[in-house]
């Protein structure tokens, strides 16, 4: 990278950060207004979240002149890269931003026009479409110097990242995490992942152009652990009635734990969020006014209909208080051991919910139903996310028949608006809520 480009990049980031800070201060000075008469006041931290996420993507615009850049899957052992000062892009997060901005279908069409089937994950299509066309709502995505795909979320990433490697001519590092069929992963499977992580170090160092320092890796692992623990605490505060932070809010507030895991600023952010949530509890402020029923959400959100869902449920006094999806970014915190960063990463990254059996997911839902005193479950049958949706029909049946927990299967897609029909979704949601209402 040239000195000129580096200096221009530094200046661009500094200017952009100042503008975003100003924007945040202005937002904070304005009195917050509730998005709906049925919902509680918005979180005061929202402008800070917006600033943090916008700053991350702003830095991305200039990242190629400042850092080595890696594109990684959401469940990738990112600590290794953070310790070597990589700027990390999460294509799934970027795709979710495209989803909430309702530009995902336009961008995905760029991939579809090149022959990628609509049966593929809409995150993959959105990402590939963005890579092929350069279209993005975040300004510009930096070119990757390295690609890191971990199979703990799905097998699609194997092929998706090969396409990216081919397109960008960047090396692809693959971490294969064997599926956990039973309660515990076998020792040899964890050892297999650990060896892959160790074997990855020379390649990552070569791309980074520097040696990995153990102390840096431990520091990043500690920050990851602290942020994940704080996030888990935030979610667990929803054991209170009324729930202070809805799962809809969590879908937004989870952005830093995914894409800025391992950064000090992320720890500070979740500490501040926890303080705000505690203050809400003290003041008796709920995410939904007059909360009457509490539900669990399973699977990814429907990014382009978050507000619709929140308001539809809120109007009936129903709060989404927990989700298996947001929970996934906190539940593994105890496994992270900063003193043994690679060995503990092998355990942490083999155990995400999507790398475990459908029976395990059912157990997780049942335990959440008890912890959060839930009245029912909405299972989003997500056309795009096959591993998450697989088994939901059986999970639903068993929730109802064996545990007496009402459950609804709602068909949609996390990013592709063409797979969502509001009229049909409303009919199902409406009937489900009436059914809950009639229960004693």
């Amino acid at each position: 990278m040239s000195a000129g480009a580096w200096a221009r990049g530094r200046a661009g980031v500094a200017l952009g950060r100042a503008a975003l800070r100003l924007q945040r201060l202005r937002s904070e000075a304005r009195p917050p207004h509730a998005p709906s008469e049925h919902l509680g006041p918005p979180l005061r931290i929202a402008p800070r979240t917006k600033e943090l996420v916008a700053r991350h993507w702003l830095e991305g615009r200039y990242a190629n002149s400042q850092h080595k850049v890696a594109w990684v899957t959401s469940g990738a052992p990112v600590e290794l890269l953070k310790a070597l000062d990589f700027y990390v892009v999460y294509p799934e997060n970027h795709a979710a931003i495209c989803g909430t901005a309702r530009v995902a279908v336009d961008i995905a069409s760029e991939a579809e026009a090149r022959g990628y089937s609509r049966d593929l994950c809409s995150y993959a299509r959105t990402d590939l479409g963005a890579a092929f066309s350069g279209k993005t709502p975040v300004g510009r995505l930096p070119r990757p110097d390295l690609l890191l795909a971990c199979t703990n979320i799905c097998q699609t990433v194997l092929f998706w990242y090969r396409v990216l490697a081919h397109h960008f001519g960047a090396p692809l590092l693959l971490v294969d995490t064997p599926f956990v069929y039973h309660d515990e992963a076998p020792a040899h499977a964890i050892e297999y992942v650990r060896r892959q992580l160790e074997d990855a170090v020379p390649l990552v160092e070569r791309v980074a152009g520097r040696r990995l320092i153990d102390a840096d890796l431990r520091r990043v692992a500690r920050l990851s652990k602290q942020a994940s623990e704080l996030w888990m605490e935030v979610m667990q505060r929803n054991r209170h009635r009324p729930a202070p932070i809805s799962a809809i809010d969590q879908f937004i507030q989870m952005a830093p734990i995914v894409e800025m895991r391992g950064d000090a600023v992320t720890v500070d952010f979740y500490a501040a969020l926890l303080r705000e949530v505690d203050e809400r509890i003290r003041r008796g402020v709920g995410a939904v006014r007059g909360e009457r029923r509490r539900l669990l959400w399973d699977n990814l959100p429907i990014w382009y209909r978050l507000r619709y869902l929140g308001e539809t449920l809120g109007a009936q006094g129903v709060a989404l208080v927990a989700s298996t999806y947001t929970n996934a970014w906190g539940e593994l915190a105890p496994l992270i051991d900063p003193d043994q960063p690679l060995a503990s990463a092998a355990r942490t990254y083999i155990y995400p919910i999507l790398n475990r059996s459908t029976g395990h997911k059912l157990k997780t839902m049942l335990s959440m139903a008890q912890d959060y005193t839930l009245d029912g479950v909405i299972l989003h049958s997500d056309r795009s996310c096959k591993p998450y949706s697989m088994g939901q029909m059986d999970q639903r049946d068993r929730l109802i028949r064996e545990h007496g927990i009402p459950a609804l299967l709602l068909e949609a897609d996390h990013n592709d608006t063409r797979c969502f029909t509001e009229e049909q979704a409303s009919a199902r949601l409406g009937a489900f809520l009436e059914m809950l209402e009639a229960r004693p």
């Binding site: 029909m393 049946d397 109802i400 028949r401 009402p406 299967l409 068909e411 029909t421 009229e423 049909q424 009919a427 199902r428 409406g430 009937a431 009436e434 059914m435 009639a438 229960r439």
Partner: protein, 265 residues
């Protein structure tokens, strides 16, 4: 005729219905028309017809259901078809069990407790296979009156399998079968089988709790009833007024609300 005490409107995708009930919850008046694109006008006409039934009385309590329910502005409450069908059938047959409602653009399977509460339900998704529209389309294509579809299908001993459950593709399949000289009766029987199997898959997904009850205009079709019994091994109990079940349930809810006044929701 006893005095009207409450009204229920069901604005569906194919037909619009209004039911008036007396103080005992018995149906004393109803009107059924093909659904019009200008829902509000049609609803206005229905309501003035209802007013004609009791010209001197106060405005009657009204609950709306069906896909067009949000356009019934005078309704005190809008309730989904699931709840209304459950309420209507429970009043008519006084039974828990499994209700199949085959509507114009969707079919529903509703599991009712012994007290008549909805325990679970499932609906067809993303596709109109297994709905009344499936039969309507093919009836039009074959030039057979809708009311004759069932008897013609049952009269046939032959049956050709229809592999497509998609309403549009099934139509193409029917055309090619006709072109190959296959008898209309055998095609019709195959079509009914395809529809019923699609419904039975939904029934099994929701979990069949006997008895099996049937509502929606398709319940008049004997072939559907008979094949449903054959496929499930359960006797089918059709609703007394199958096409009015949803509107009837809505009227019963309106009557109940009028008896226990509370905040409108």
């Amino acid at each position: 005729m006893s005095a009207l005490c409450a009204l229920g409107i069901d604005v569906g995708s194919t037909t619009a219905k209004i039911v008036g009930i007396d103080s005992l919850g018995e149906i004393v008046w109803h009107c059924l028309e093909p659904a019009e694109p200008r829902v509000e006008q049609q609803v206005g006409r229905f309501l003035s017809l209802a007013q004609d039934q009791s010209p001197d009385g106060p405005p009657l309590p009204l609950v709306a259901t069906g896909y067009g329910r949000h356009l019934v502005h005078l309704a005190a409450r809008k309730v989904t078809e699931i709840t209304c069908h459950a309420r209507g059938i429970f009043r008519e047959l006084a039974h828990g069990g499994t209700l199949v409602d085959i509507g114009g653009q969707d079919s529903k399977v509703i599991v009712l407790s012994a007290r008549g509460d909805v325990v679970d339900f499932s609906m067809n998704d993303k596709c109109a296979a297994g709905t009344g529209r499936f039969l309507e389309n093919t009836a039009a294509r074959l030039g057979i009156p809708l009311a004759q579809m069932g008897p013609v299908a049952l009269a046939s001993k032959e049956e050709v399998p229809i592999s497509s459950t998609c309403t549009v593709f099934a139509e193409s399949e029917v055309i090619s079968l006709l072109a190959r000289g296959v008898a209309v009766e055998a095609i019709l029987r195959g079509l009914h089988r395809a529809l019923v199997r699609r419904i039975v898959a939904m029934v099994r997904a929701a979990g069949l709790v006997p008895p099996l009850m049937l509502s929606g205009g398709v319940a008049h079709n004997q072939a559907v009833c008979s094949l449903l019994e054959e496929e499930t091994g359960e006797r089918v109990m059709p609703a007394l007024h199958p096409e009015l079940t949803g509107a009837y349930g809505a009227a019963l809810i309106a009557l109940e609300r009028a008896a226990t006044p509370g905040p409108a929701s």
